[in-house]
Symmetry: C2
Subunit: 198 residues, 2 copies
DNA sequence: GCTCAATACTTGACAGTGTCAAGATGTAAG
DNA sequence: CTTACATCTTGACACTGTCAAGTATTGAGC
């Protein structure tokens, strides 16, 4: 149970940290099992004893990314005033700030993970689902004060999520890319006016 | 200039077609230079004479994908009535239908392509930009009848694009994934009411 | 018809990648 | 001390993209 167990200490966390560093500095395709192992100072096959292949390491990395993601939204939320609209905008600004400041992390989080996810350790998968649910709950809570869009229970959160995620993917996440013609409106200008409940 | 030039004929187009087939059947990571070459019946190094590396083949594939993408939106547009709202919804339905029916193509189209794009043949890059601009113009035309959202010139098209793209990425493109809690509202229900110009 | 240069393709190699099998090494319990 | 076990290393394999060198086909000039 002690953190200093064997040769290395806690290799598991070191590999996740190494992976995030690789992503931040080199982008999506810089993430490699062997480079993570080298960065952690172990041999190329060492990770296999902690992660069920590359896909499992990715899942563990993504789980930690979701924690940073939630923190980014929470931080903006705390800085904003308490009105529902200000809170919702703050959540979205946290969403967009993360996609801007941690582009590669944002990409791997929402990159479609194919059937390969079936091979990952159930414990890691559970943690991943828990963290992503937590992030979603932040958005959902910020949407709760507003009347349901389109008369559908999940209408507001689906609309806001799609809007902010599309904005992030198309514009915020790609620093160079501008709107095909002209300047880009700020997100606050394209978020529709949402009437409050009741 | 004749289409039957050398051993193979027009290997260039055959490689693009092979790549699209690989994507459709095996997903993003099934696309491989060597598999494309094998599918076209040539040796593994043959593509190098037509494409400046894998990234150039990808760019050429994406250009063809944009053509299919535009066709999908155009088809829905022609089936719909002429009212601005019906036309805009039809364009979006074409957008979503493509993301559903050609998930891997949709993914590679909007996958963030890193600095590597600098290495692709300028001619291929021009074609890619031309095709993606054509697709964007379809959306822009459908947005034109509506008053600018947020008082910004590009407000409407940016809002609609972000909304439909986010919806596609988060829901339509991932067949299994449902909204985290409950059922998913249809896109028509989350597209806000947009007042016409003037 | 022949020569010759250019184009299209093949073969072979190299450094990477993920993954597996087998062995070595340290840890901890009996 | 011994034994079982978790951890890590070494080595191999197939696969990837890319490069260098060689071969074959095409087409133009004469």
């Amino acid at each position: 149970m002690s953190p200093e167990k064997h040769h290395h200490g806690n290799l598991r966390e070191a590999l996740i940290t190494a992976g995030i560093e690789l992503l931040e500095t080199g982008g999506l395709e810089a993430l490699t099992l062997r480079k993570c192992a080298a960065k952690a100072g172990v041999s190329h096959a060492a990770p296999a004893h902690h992660f069920n292949g590359l896909i499992s390491l990715k899942a563990a990395i993504i789980a930690r990314c979701y924690r940073m993601f939630s923190a980014s939204m929470d931080a903006k939320s705390r800085q904003a005033e308490a009105s529902p609209r200000a809170q919702l905008l703050a959540i979205c600004e946290g969403y967009l700030a993360f996609s801007r400041d941690h582009g590669a992390l944002f990409q791997i989080m929402f990159q479609p993970k194919p059937k390969a996810l079936a091979n990952v350790n159930p414990q890691i998968l559970d943690e991943l689902n828990a963290e992503s649910s937590k992030s979603y709950m932040i958005l959902r809570t910020a949407c709760a004060p507003f009347a349901p869009v389109g008369g559908h229970d999940q209408g507001t959160e689906v609309m806001v999520w799609a809007l902010v995620h599309g904005y992030a993917v198309l514009f915020a996440n790609q620093p160079d890319k501008e709107t095909p013609a002209g300047t880009l409106p700020e997100f606050a200008h394209i978020l529709p006016d949402l009437p409050l409940r009741n």
